[in-house]
Amino acid sequence: MEYAISVLLSGISVGGQYALIAIGYTLVYGILRLINFAHGDVFMVAGLMGIYFTAVLPISLSLPLVIILTVLLGFTIERVAYKPLRDAPRMSVMISAIGVSYLLQNTATYVTGGQPMTYPTIPFLSGTVNVAGTQTKWVVILTPILVLTLVVLLSLLINRTKVGMAMRAVSKDFETSRLMGIRINSVISVTFIIGSALAAVGSVLFFTNYPAITPMAGAMPGLKAFVAAVFGGIGSIPGAVIGAFIIGICETIIKGLPSSWDVSVFSDAFTFALLILILVFKPQGLFGEAATDKV
């Protein structure tokens, strides 16, 4: 029982962190129909910035700075690497995204010298707490709460504000929105800003829990978050969050299965198998809307 709770706790915590990244994916995909491969790496860079800033600045100052700079990074990436390709085929944009991801990873290798970096201990978040006989960090408990709060806030933003309305319009019909005078570029920028800010917050939570950062640290969580976004129905924020939690929990359950079965190695493979299954049988995901092509 204690063991089951500990597995569930890990699952919720992992899922929560995927959720924060997945929201960024789902927002961007919903609007640009672009798999932003670089998103996971933005998350990794946010983690690295966290390390470098806390080394010289107090935490209360450095964390906001990390968020601001990550937002700036996300914004810049969009402006430099995606905007010029707005009318290019989708494949080009995706290649550009892969290129950005490659660049961020290589730059991180250069800066860190390839060494795994240690994320600083953040007071309170890193503190431990005992849940039903299992010791865990506070961050594990706080992540899901924070995620849910953010989902509510984001839903409000999207459903109640002017920017949110524009975002919905753009994701429904890009061309028409443009004709209707919606400033597409600012809507897209806002999307990237929100996504990056969430990635920054996600990085704080994730790396407090798993404190070693390597240049590849963002790739896997990034891909899984994308799978979560697809699973939940791309474009749907609650979908992405639920997808992320399902994937996180499934993953830890697989890891936690008896060793004699020797299946724990497939925790990542499972995620991808799930992706293929969902794409084949329910391509619109759990909460997405089916789209028809115009001839």
């Binding site: 790739a219 890891k255 724990s264 925790s267």
Partner: protein, 400 residues
């Protein structure tokens, strides 16, 4: 139009680079032609990017220090300046062959490295083809030297190391049940786990093992599993980044089971992760700080007086065993050059098997496969209050 510009740019880039590189190779070719001159090059085949970069850099550090200590070698009545030539094998098997041929192309007399067995095995055939001897420093996989006449090594092998740790677990903790955790697809981890399992089960123990996927970051499920299975020891022969994660997460879970690690865990980044926790970590290693005071003092000075070296060592002056091994490897190379009497690669290759050297990590001699004859390993433990390594014991294997 753009296309034409692109082609032109590419052309210019290509030309300038070709010019650049041919200038470079011309220079080295000139050096090669005058090998009767006064320079002997030693190739350093190590990762400085990729997963194993951290270990590779520390190994290079030992060689650099040794090189700064003894920059010349006397052979055949002449004094040669020894120059280290580096090639980054990128910790990956697909980059290793080109890094190896980079060294061959720079006309080195012999090669040292690599940290990591996979890259050594990938580069090995290149050295063999070129008739160039390579001395492995800390590549512990049996297949590095087996079937390759030109590969030697000064470290012990995986099976020996696993044997030592299994015996240690039985002797020290009277362990009956061990939990092993390695990275899926990493031959180092899986090899050690397999050998450990053999020895431990032969001694009547029970082994549960798991593998985690590459780039995994959540280890709490595995650790909780070990706990709920009632393991007496946890054996984690993983690379540094994972070891660090595992230690951090084990600390927050209050796991309370002793950890056994292989030589990769002998790293100050792992050590740091155990500081101010109640973790028990024991690692088997090639060298224990304090083994040679002159070396300890010398290398610490070297590290502290050189900011690049300090960064490479992870920001402090704790001596990693691989650094000591790199240091010894350099001297073994010098001995081989002396015995060969020149910088000729074929003669050096012929001389290596008979080289004997009393290094800081113990005395080194080679057996017929080219492996070092070693029968002891050091076990050390992390002192969690001071954040240093404490010597535990000298451990021998079960003698198999």
């Amino acid at each position: 139009m753009k296309r034409i510009i692109a082609v032109m740019l590419t052309g210019i880039m290509t030309l300038s680079l070709a010019a650049c590189s041919s200038a470079g190779s011309a220079a080295s070719a000139g050096g090669g032609a005058s090998s009767g001159g006064d320079v002997i090059r030693i190739g350093v085949f190590e990762p400085s990017t990729g997963d194993s970069a951290s270990g590779g850099k520390k190994e290079i550090l030992g060689m650099q220090y040794a090189n700064s200590e003894t920059p010349t070698v006397e052979a055949g009545g002449k004094t040669y300046k020894v120059e280290l030539v580096y090639a980054d094998n990128g910790s990956s098997a697909d980059k290793a062959p080109s890094a190896a041929s980079e060294l061959v192309g720079k006309d080195v007399s012999l090669v040292l490295g690599s940290y990591g067995s996979g890259v050594s095995m990938a580069g090995g055939p290149k050295f063999e083809e070129a008739g160039l001897a390579a001395i492995g420093v800390t590549c512990t996989n049996p297949n590095v030297t087996a079937g390759n006449d030109y590969y030697f090594r000064i470290c012990f092998l995986d099976n020996f190391q696993a044997d030592v740790l299994a015996n240690f677990a039985i002797e020290k903790f009277s362990a009956k049940k061990a939990y092993c955790l390695g990275e899926n697809g990493n031959e180092y981890d899986q090899g050690l786990v397999a050998f450990f399992t053999q020895v431990f089960e032969a001694a009547g123990g029970e082994v549960i093992s798991d593998s985690f996927p590459t780039n995994n970051s959540d280890f709490t499920s595995y650790l909780n599993k070990a706990k709920s299975e009632g393991a007496d020891v946890i054996f984690t022969p993983v690379s540094i980044a994972y070891a660090k994660q595992i230690m951090e997460q084990a600390a927050s879970l209050d796991i309370g089971i002793p950890f056994l690690g292989s030589d990769t865990l002998d790293d100050n980044m792992v050590l740091e992760a155990t500081k101010d926790t109640n973790l028990q970590l024991f690692v088997s290693t090639f060298y224990q700080e304090g083994g040679s005071e002159t070396f300890d003092k010398g290398i610490k000075d070297y590290i502290n007086n050189n900011s690049d070296a300090l960064t490479a060592n992870g920001g402090n002056d704790t001596i990693s065993a691989v650094t000591a091994m790199g240091y010894d490897a350099y001297y073994v190379a010098l001995e081989a050059i002396k015995a060969a009497g020149s910088g000729d690669k074929a003669q050096i290759k012929g001389a290596i098997p008979s080289v004997k050297w009393d290094g800081v990590s113990g005395s080194i001699a080679f057996d017929e496969v080219g492996d070092a004859v070693r029968d002891t390993a050091y076990i050390k433990t992390a002192d969690t209050s001071t954040g240093t390594w404490a010597f535990e014991k000298v451990q021998t294997g079960s003698g198999k």
